[in-house]
């Protein structure tokens, strides 16, 4: 079974994500945005980029694309769905995850390395990590400030739906680590069923020490393991 990487015309991390999946030994294929079926795929990744240019609002148009109908269906059936960066924005716009991603508090695109703490290791995306593990991952976005109303936030916390939280580096200042002003330092959340994950950091950019960090690798390996366990 293989993993779909959705390709919106303005996706630009599509090939990077495909590469990352293949690096851990998963079979993966690009799926064009106009396709309305994900028949035969055991998981889907919405990669980073600028879906349809995102001149209006990140992900605002993508939710209407044919492929998103298929993504919704896959999500409903309990298959793993992962949205990275723009993919996370699309998932919130499409209502597959609660909340919204607003403009960073600094009001500009920010590309740098951040630390995130892992809050859940019982998910198909995170089972290969150690509980509470601190990960060094790159971010690259202009709209990454996670926002939700108080009630939603409270529910997210109560249901343990926050998966990644921005955290201070192990040595260094204990403030100023949240790069975009996200509420509750939220860098990534999962739906209540635990199969739809959205995250702002780019795990596909942190696969090898050659590129500065390999902390993202376990995410793809976890997914591989999860798919293997259920015989997918």
């Amino acid at each position: 079974m293989k993993v779909a990487v959705v390709q919106f015309p303005g996706s630009n991390c599509d090939l990077d994500t495909l590469w990352a999946l293949e690096q851990v030994g998963l079979k993966a294929e690009l799926v064009w945005h106009s396709q309305d079926s994900l028949e035969g795929f055991a998981a889907v990744v919405l990669p980073g980029g600028f879906s349809y240019g995102d001149y209006l609002r990140a992900g605002a148009l993508a939710k209407f694309s044919p492929v998103m109908r298929a993504v919704r269906q896959l999500a409903r059936q309990g298959y793993p769905v992962l949205g990275i960066c723009n993919g996370f924005q699309v998932l919130t716009e499409a209502g597959l995850l609660p909340g919204a991603l607003l403009a960073n508090t600094n009001l500009h695109f920010t590309c740098k390395e951040v630390y995130v703490r892992l809050e859940r290791t019982d998910l198909p995306f995170t089972q290969g990590y150690a509980p509470g593990q601190l990960l060094r991952l790159p971010i690259a976005h202009a709209e990454g400030r996670y926002y939700a109303d108080n009630q939603t936030l409270q529910q997210l916390e109560e249901n343990r739906q926050v998966v990644f939280r921005y955290a201070p580096p192990p040595e260094g200042p204990k403030e100023g680590y949240n790069p975009n002003g996200a509420l509750n330092d939220i860098a990534g959340i999962v739906n209540q069923q635990g199969n739809v994950l959205g995250m702002m950091p780019h795990p596909e950019r942190a696969l090898e020490e050659t590129l500065g960090s390999s902390d993202g690798r376990s995410l793809f390996e976890s997914l591989k393991q999860a798919l293997a366990v259920v015989g997918l």
């Binding site: 303005g10 090939l15 990077d16 980029g49 600028f50 349809y52 240019g53 690259a140 202009a142």
Partner: protein
Amino acid sequence: MEETLNPLLKETGIPLEEYREIVRRLGREPNRLELYLFKVMWSEHCGYKNSRPLLKLLPKEGPAVLQGPGENAGVVEVGEGWAVAFKIESHNHPSAVEPFQGAATGVGGIIRDIVAMGARPIALLNSLRFGRLEEARTRYLVQGVVSGIAHYGNAIGVPTVGGEVYFHPDYQDNPLVNAMCVGLLRVEELKRSRASLSRPVYYVGSKTGRDGIGGAAFASEELEEENQSKRPSVQVGDPFLGKLTLELTLEAIRQDLVEGVQDMGAAGLTSSLAELAHKSGLGLELDLDRVPRRESGMNPLELMLSESQERMVLVPRPGKEKDLEALAARWGLDAVAVAHTLSEPVLRVRFQGQVVAEVPTQALAEAPTYLRQAAESPEAQARRNQSLEGLPRPLSPQEALLSLLASPNLCSRAPIYERYDHQVGTNTVLVPGRGDAAILRIKGTQRGIAVKVDANPRYSKLAPRLGAMHALAEATRNVSVVGARPLAYTDGLNCGNPETPQGYFELSETIQGLAQASHALGLPVVSGNVSLYNEGPHYRIPPTPMVGVVGLLPDLARRAEMGFRQPGELIVLIGGLEGHLGGSEYLWVVHGLEAGAPPPLDLAKEARAQTAIRAFIERGWVRTAHDVAEGGLAVALAEMTFPYGLGATVELRSQAPWEVLLFGEAPSRILFTIAPEHLQAVAEALEERGLSYWVLGQVGGDRLTLLLPRERLEWPLEALRAAWEKPLREVLP
């Protein structure tokens, strides 16, 4: 006759002698449209009228060169079937008028040049020049240009991995924005601007509007107050459409649907089609009625001169026309056969069934060239000869280092590069701020390429020829100190008005300096751009040769960064302890002086120093290396403490005045660190190559300590970092 001509010549700005040349080449009077075709094609930007005879001096051949200047970009081979296409291009005047779109379309344009060679763009760099950072207008320009580069590069998904920026009052009215793009291709997929006979020529990409009309000609005029009203000459970029056009073109090449590719950039349809026809040794008939447009009522002149962005010219292989159209439809783009090639070597333009222009392609494509009077400006001479004896010491050495680190020219660039996606593509091995050059890996191999762009306008202002030599020496040195062997370079030559003796002198000296350094370092130029007329009634920019070097790193595991990483490692300096104050950043920051002769440059020694450091890195002895550049030894050492927050203790055993020792500048100097057990081998290797060296001290601690014969200088790293980080952060919070 010439009286009735005057209004037309005035309107087009074509000098009378060129008009006569046009008549001679045509054998008749041109009509208005034809005259405009000549105007844009004979602009410096497209026609290289003043620079071509000089550019002949540059070596263009080398073992790695697959494509030299003359195509959309240069290409060098990097092994295992891979090649790298690269080019730098200016977008100075548009950026002066509208910084955001000017910079954005500069990025878009250079990306299309790379795509036209069949290469997937993998890296962007930029070279920026502004006036004083304290001025409000400079801050506006910096913010606009940086946002424009980020807007386009981030969205189209090409990482911006490196660059450089200088602030100098001579750029106050005329900022420079040069963008460089590097692309990766399989050797067999190399494309050129070619078409065979009787082939349809396709217009692909975005629709044509009235934006950017006459941009190439605008770029070849002096900037004046009234140019603020030339905003319509500035193109508008759409990175989303740029991305679609890029993917469509690369997919068409991968599927082998096209025989030739040409970017539609400066001078739009006119230049792209004239170039394609001329390089193919053919003619071409264009039907303007078929050109996709986004507004109605456009006349032939507007259609021919529009510089609407995100357009390409593709020539399908026979029988592949429908496949190309289907592919374009998938990407939601226009692909229309707007022209076809002819055996008769003319550019024929039809509009509403009529031939509205017909011009021999050679007449258009080969602009006349000029050799002009050259004379050095007396001011530059006077500055160079100014005595630097007996200068006061308003600052202590402790204060001076902090002031230099806080100089806009030396301070941290993080506020700029953090706004650029520098990692998309997952190939960036050495990110900005970590090394003297960026390193990109080639997936599926152990190889990497290193890229760097550089120029020192102060050296060039004081001594244009020597300054250009320094630019190439430093850019190659930066590539060498990360472990890569320089293969070739691209040059972005930004100068003043070549029609003045001073402007021409600076252009001519700059190119001669580059030629001298190219030959000595064995490095060919494979692409480039000239931007002249960076001059106004009250100013002329310093000659600014932005040199973009590409090097090959044979083994990614053997590379060096600039930061101190290992406590206890020894710090070694290749080269002498004492630098020169002429043209130095110290002189500018502390005394507000721009004077004296720039440091002398021994190119043979430069080559030996670079070979030596590459050898040490290749052996695995060196993982930290840094070029000693502007600001001298003390600044270079401070810079090495920043990436990992690791300090050093260094002893400078010389009786020279501390300014000369700490802040004097000199080329061919490289700082690096080694484990003590490698010292003997390193020393022997340096002696064998006839290179002087100093073992300066040791890595470790949270301070930078410099021991002079009669003085101990010490700075906590936080103090150095705070001074260094502040200035640009205030402008780009």
